[in-house]
Symmetry: C2
Subunit: 224 residues, 2 copies
């Protein structure tokens, strides 16, 4: 294993990677302090370093700098928030008390979308065409971790009508928005995932998510 040992980062570097993974949070509370352009470029660069199925690099980013567009985007999300509450039935009131986005508050808003003309990419997608989304999610997770290390918060908002966002940004019909990213400075990072802090859902035990050679038996939710 000598050859592998040489690929290992230093203990300090390994700890830093695990720290970013552990302390990253899906943020909804932001201050309006700006994000410098070169910092934003580093974060998008981190996204672009993600793996992608068949190396198709399906991620596209639209940076929202026009205030009117940001307000329109907020309205689209607010409409879907109400529709989601209605769909949640008995949990509607509980849901409506949660903060689900920081679009009007945060330093930067980005749309992340799947590119057009994806059907010609077959490698790794013949039986799982949705692997393009998996690649985009890996890119967003890279950004999330890099932002956390740099002291910035990020939130992934997926409460929106797809056609409305496509229209707002004049997207081709076969491009698909999958994220409204809120990015920026924060007063504090949540100690636990906000939905856990707020009691929306509990942390599953790892053991209930893993098994050997067979499907893990579904267990009751439990605190770790």
């Amino acid at each position: 294993m000598t050859e592998s040992t040489s690929h290992r980062f230093s203990d300090q570097e390994i700890a830093a990677v695990y720290r970013a993974i552990r302390e990253r949070r899906d943020m909804r509370h932001f201050t309006d302090a700006p994000v410098p352009a070169e910092q934003l470029a580093r974060l998008i660069g981190a996204a672009h370093d993600a793996p992608s199925v068949g190396f198709m690099q399906p991620w596209r980013f639209v940076r929202v700098t026009d205030r009117a567009i940001r307000v329109a985007l907020h309205d689209i999300v607010e409409t879907e928030r109400l529709a989601t509450a209605e769909a949640l039935n008995e949990r509607a009131d509980e849901f409506m008390r949660l903060k689900v986005q920081g679009i009007l508050d945060c330093g930067e808003v980005l749309i992340v979308a799947l590119m057009e003309n994806r059907e010609r990419h077959i490698f790794g997608r013949r039986t799982l065409p949705e692997m393009d989304l998996a690649s985009v999610a890996c890119a967003i997770q890279n950004m999330w971790l890099a932002a956390r290390a740099e002291g910035l918060g990020m939130g992934w908002v997926s409460l929106f009508d797809i056609a409305a966002v496509q229209r707002l940004f004049h997207m081709p019909a076969d491009a698909k928005p999958v994220a409204v990213l809120c990015l920026g400075h924060v007063e504090r990072f949540y100690e636990k995932p906000m939905l856990q802090e707020e009691g929306w859902a509990q942390r599953l035990s790892i053991s209930s998510c893993v098994d050997e050679n067979r499907w893990p038996a579904p267990l009751a939710d439990s605190d770790e």
Copy 2:
């Protein structure tokens, strides 16, 4: 911005996070050196620290320790490799020369799947039900980066018939396998993504993936 500055990791920690992001590779070449159980547990723990839509934690892991199951899994992937080659038409020969998996060689094989009973999770999924997959991809990206920091390679294989993998692991009908992960020690990490090294696809310029307030105009592929 003083409050945000205090959330920033040290310069060394930030560099470590970016190093993991930059040097992570989708690996297909492995040695058969084993992965210690506690190291595997750390990596699955990193996955479990991922964000998830509505905190639903939809990821399930099956560790393949039975050699016969590993061989059966390899056969399923090989069948799909041939089907993909046929679908690729004029690029079939080029595709068949690429190594697409290391299932029989690597130290550990894991199946990652979307859990059963997902339809009751509506938060963030009413218009985008596929956000469950996005969460699982974020979890896998966490593992990928942690593994790279620890000097281990990982590959995400998505060439398989879904029903065949479901049957092999006796999954509930509404659970869905999305990844065969090959994990283990490697002789070397590819300097660039393997499909870029092999000429399968070129790296896009970042500028062709980003625009402001509007959809980025599609550009020809180019080296960065």
